[in-house]
């Protein structure tokens, strides 16, 4: 993969993607092409299929119809290890009972790069520490999992994904459980990453900070584009069932959404 082709080929794309689970249609007819380096927000009401879409794009679930391409190649044909070297998914609420240290939890992110015989090198160590630093979690490195707060755990999960050094990062509602300071900080950090990022969000104001937004409604992709163009009051009423209007923040001139009950 030369630099030229990497720029031209979409890092992640899907065509006519459909998924059925237990007889229900979870996704249908999704067409998406992610732009390299962008932060793409995925929004929709509960049950619209955000998590399922991320799982299918990450290769964790096989779609019932359609296909996914990762870096130009069909996802279904790539060995899992290659996929993991290019793409990392941070799920909601992954947890463990093991007393694993923060450093080791993040070091798991190096797994796709380490063969059975390769030792954990100094370079791997540096990558892990960098990932921790990026998430402002370096001071937690010796703490054990059980002693972490929800927000700290979330940051460790994201640090692990970063340690994978992926080209595409998928985040499933990463701001859940975070306090307000860390919510804002996380989004800023995620935006600043040179990695192409897809992030599922339920806070629509947070979604406004993304480069583009995809709106899912009952498994269908109903809108894709710049946040202000997509999240119109009409869209918000029809998909989310709420009345909304934009306000200008006097502090910095940014647009924010204000909601009223129907």
């Amino acid at each position: 993969m030369t630099v030229m082709t990497a720029v031209r080929v979409a890092p992640l794309s899907c065509q006519r993607l459909g998924l059925q689970l237990a007889g229900n249609t979870v996704l249908s007819g999704i067409e998406l092409s992610v732009v390299a380096g962008e932060t793409l927000g995925i929004v929709g009401p509960n049950g619209s299929g955000k998590s399922s879409l991320l799982k299918v794009l990450a290769g964790l679930r096989r779609p019932g119809s359609g296909s996914v391409q990762l870096l130009g190649e069909p996802l279904a044909q790539l060995p899992r290890r290659r996929v993991a070297q290019a793409l990392a998914l941070v799920e909601q609420q992954a947890d463990t009972l093991d007393a694993i240290s923060v450093f080791d939890a993040v070091a798991l992110g190096r797994t796709p790069w380490l063969s059975a015989l390769a030792p954990f090198s100094r370079e791997d160590r540096a990558i892990v520490e960098q990932a921790l630093a990026d998430l402002d979690a370096l001071h937690l490195r010796t703490r054990l999992w059980g002693s972490l707060s929800g927000g700290e755990r979330q940051r460790v999960h994201i640090a692990r994904a970063l340690a994978q050094r992926p080209q595409v990062l998928l985040l499933d509602e990463p701001t859940n459980h975070l306090d307000i300071q860390h919510q804002l900080g996380l989004l800023q950090q995620v935006q600043a990453l040179p990695v192409t990022t897809l992030v599922a969000l339920h806070d629509l104001n947070q979604a406004l900070t993304c480069d583009r937004i995809a709106v899912l409604d009952k498994g269908r992709l109903v809108a894709l584009g710049k946040p202000l163009e997509v999240l119109t009051p009409e869209r918000l009423l029809s998909t989310f069932g709420v009345h909304a209007h934009y306000l200008i923040d006097p502090f910095d001139g940014a647009r924010i959404l204000r909601f009223r009950a129907p």
Partner: protein, 339 residues
């Protein structure tokens, strides 16, 4: 890291060697350490000491083999426990969860009761086939429960399979067994190293080593399951293939061990937990430590089973439970309060 590795290995091997020597020196009858040393010297480097042939036979053919098999079985069962606890993400997972000991007991009882012993199959052979048959049934049940093959399905299928085969065993014993037979079978089922000779060693030790090597090769894979199967998949592990491979490997090792020594409980469940409490969950350390811990534990249990009551041998499975429960409790209590 490498600097710490070699001394650790040296200490581990030394501990194992001491345990093996202890197992060879201690037994039902009193043989002095001097005699033990002479017999070993005679066999290992033709030292030519004059030793009573019965003593020599006891030391070389009975005790040494028993100790080696105890070490191999302890190591094998502990490693299988580690695999199952890592893959099934359940602290109660242990090698017999997949129906292996229940199937083995049914197989052994069938051979023992139908008197197939005079034909090709011994109780060991019956146990091995029974264990694998039960495992196959559990796999089929887990598959049938749904295509997702999640952990709950596997565990429930294992429970169902175990209950079925345990019921079969109970049925066979109550309908057909005389008191003499029931006693013989029970003795075998509780775990017993009396019938072990050199052929068992040539089976148990390579199988244990094979299990250890396969697991060490997959140590990072096992680590990757820390946050669940989806997390492992996103870290690049082909989950279904890997789980099938490792669980089948565990089933094979367990089936071999159970067929040689009966169903010795406790080792596969508790040794991994005890070492995890002491060393943390990283499998690079947990696997070899569990193997060593299991080996030492079972050798100690075998020694105790022979020396606690003079002239009588207590089934090893009873000793492992009696010995292991308080030791485990001790570890739990001493770690209390530490995160």
């Amino acid at each position: 890291m490498m600097m710490r590795l070699f001394p650790c290995i040296a200490v581990a091997l030394a501990a194992l060697l001491i345990a093996l020597l202890a197992g060879t020196a201690i037994g039902e009858s009193n043989l002095s350490p001097g005699v033990v040393g002479q017999v070993l010297a005679n066999h290992l480097w033709q030292a030519g000491y004059p030793v009573d042939p019965i003593d020599a036979g006891i030391i070389w053919n009975y005790r040494l083999t028993r100790t080696l098999v105890a070490a191999a079985c302890g190591a094998g069962l502990a490693i299988c426990g580690v695999i199952l606890q890592a893959l099934l993400r359940n602290p109660l997972a242990e090698p017999y969860l997949l129906g292996l000991s229940a199937g083995a007991s049914t197989g052994a009882v069938l051979v023992g009761l139908l008197g197939l012993g005079s034909v090709a199959l011994s109780m060991s052979g019956g146990a091995f086939i029974g264990a694998l048959a039960a495992f196959a049934l559990v796999l089929v049940l887990a598959r049938a429960a749904g295509p997702g093959s999640n952990n709950a399905q596997v565990i429930l299928a294992g429970i169902a399979g175990s209950q079925l085969f345990n019921a079969l065993t109970a049925l066979l014993i109550t309908k057909s067994a005389t008191a003499e037979q029931a006693r013989g079978i029970l003795f075998w089922l509780l775990g017993n190293l009396s019938g072990v000779r050199w052929p068992s060693v040539w089976l148990a030790v390579p199988v244990a080593l094979f299990g250890l090597v396969v697991c060490l090769w997959h140590r990072r894979v096992l680590d990757a399951f820390t946050f669940g199967a989806d997390s492992a998949a996103s870290l690049g592990i082909p989950v279904r293939r890997t789980r099938l491979l490792l669980i089948s490997c565990a089933a094979l090792v367990t089936a071999v061990m159970v067929s040689i020594v009966g169903a010795i409980g406790f080792v596969g469940l508790v040794i991994p937990h005890a070492l995890r409490l002491l060393l943390g969950p990283g499998h690079s350390r947990l696997l070899p430590a569990s193997a060593l811990g299991g080996a030492l534990f079972l050798v100690a249990a075998d020694i105790l089973s022979r020396s606690l009551i003079p002239g009588q041998v207590i089934p090893v499975g009873v000793v492992t439970a009696l010995l292991g429960a308080p030791v485990f409790a001790l570890i739990l209590v001493s770690r209390r309060g530490r995160p």
